[in-house]
């Protein structure tokens, strides 16, 4: 399994620098917001948790056009379908590679940004929440990438497909991140986010496998 995962990850990172892109995009987008909003630190501290969550979602869209399209173009998807390894397992590896290339670096960058911009909102739960959010965005993104395979407007369609599905984790995640500022417990929204992430990450590889098989084998 290792050479398979390594290649999937290399296709996103070494070839396209997706991990660096995620962090750089994160820093730039957040900086742009800060300049736009102005220097009132109390305003900034209040909206930072919501802001990092929104930017986390946007940064997860960056890698989607690459996720399956390169494998489609050089017929690696044929080899996935013909492999004795079940297709959902390969799609799960693909999702893990996307998480390692985008969700993980973006969640770390987001946690550091909150620490710098709104120390009051910083907590260990925040980092966990951002990572769970990144995982669920990758799982949903996997579906978007599979559904738009072969389309000439894949990137636009992916954004349109992913955005509505990403609203529940966004709401629970931002809620959990902002909870310390309101003096309430983040446990409830964090549990809901964890439940969403587990179901999305478990089911998405099966759904993506079914879509990929249909797209590749339909005449």
């Amino acid at each position: 399994m290792m050479p398979i995962f390594t290649r999937m990850l290399a296709r996103l990172t070494r070839a396209r620098g997706l991990h660096t892109l995620s962090v750089v995009f994160f820093a730039l987008a957040l900086t742009a917001f800060v300049f736009g909003i102005g220097g009132n630190t109390s305003d900034l501290a209040n909206i930072t948790p919501g802001l990092v969550w929104a930017v986390l979602l946007l940064s997860s869209l960056l890698g989607l056009p690459l996720l399956l399209e390169t494998d489609w173009a050089d017929s690696t998807l044929d080899d996935f379908i013909l492999s004795p390894i079940p297709l959902p397992a390969l799609m799960a590896l693909k999702m893990l590679a996307h998480i390692a290339a985008t969700a993980l670096p973006a969640a770390i960058a987001a946690t550091l940004c909150v620490f710098a911009m709104a120390p009051d909102a910083f907590s260990p739960q925040l980092g966990i929440g951002l990572l769970l959010g990144g995982i669920s965005f990758s799982a949903i993104g996997m579906l978007g990438a599979a559904l738009t395979l072969g389309s000439s407007r894949a990137a636009t369609l992916q954004a349109v497909i992913v955005m509505p599905l990403a609203v529940p984790p966004l709401i629970f995640g931002a809620g959990a991140a902002g909870a310390p500022l309101l003096g309430v417990s983040p446990v409830m929204p964090l549990s809901m986010l964890a439940a969403f992430t587990v179901s999305a990450a478990t089911l998405a590889p099966f759904a993506a496998a079914a879509i990929v098989r249909m797209k590749v084998t339909t005449p």
């Binding site: 399994m1 290792m2 050479p3 398979i4 390594t6 290649r7 290399a10 296709r11 070494r14 070839a15 390169t70 173009a73 050089d74 017929s75 044929d78 080899d79 996935f80 379908i81 013909l82 492999s83 004795p84 390894i85 590749v216 084998t217 339909t218 005449p219």
Partner: protein
């Protein structure tokens, strides 16, 4: 042995092969020939199970290798990584290649020529022992020596009871093979 019974393959609504009934015996090279767009690749994909037949069935199909005509993209990946990936995917082992690629195993694909990348792709035939080889334009980009290696490899495969089904624009390379004509002139 590979048996095709009334196999009909269509692509985008157009029939590419109609009611093909044929038995391909062990040790056979079957060459698919015909002009561009006549359905050779679709037929091969049908044999590989990558294109659902409109009608008919494929029976007795042994385990197979499928090599599409898509070239390996000129990326930063190395042949060693590429072959390790495909060996893991097919449950085999990346072994020695007859295509003389040892010297370029660690050179990224973006620094290799089309022919060198084709040699690496053909080396996938060595990662596991499969009775049936489905090859789409295997001779693309190869020089005389590479071509010679390919012909020798296919000959020894069929001598050992293997089957090779080859879609090609150079059918003269296999003068003694069984042929199947696509497009104009098809039976």
């Amino acid at each position: 042995m590979l048996m095709l019974e009334n196999l009909t393959i269509a692509r985008a609504g157009a029939i590419m092969a109609l009611n093909v009934t044929r038995t391909v015996k062990a040790g056979t090279v079957l060459v698919l020939k015909g002009p561009n767009g006549s359905g050779k690749t679709s037929f091969l994909r049908g044999l590989a199970g990558l294109l659902k037949p409109e009608a008919g069935a494929l029976t007795n199909a042994p385990s197979f290798h499928w090599l599409s005509a898509q070239p390996i993209p000129p990326s930063l990946e190395t042949p060693r990584e590429y072959l390790a990936f495909h060996a893991a995917l097919m449950g085999g082992q990346a072994g020695a290649s007859p295509f003389g690629i040892n010297a370029i195993l660690d050179t990224p694909f973006n620094r290799l020529s089309t022919g060198q990348r084709q040699r690496v792709k053909l080396s996938r035939l060595m990662v596991s022992d499969r009775k049936l080889w489905l090859l789409d334009e295997p001779s693309d980009g190869l020089d005389a020596a590479g071509l010679e290696t390919l012909l020798t490899l296919i000959a020894s495969h069929t001598d050992n009871g293997g089957i090779a089904v080859i879609a090609t624009h150079q059918p003269h390379l296999w003068p003694h093979a069984e042929t199947m004509q696509f497009g104009a002139g098809a039976a």
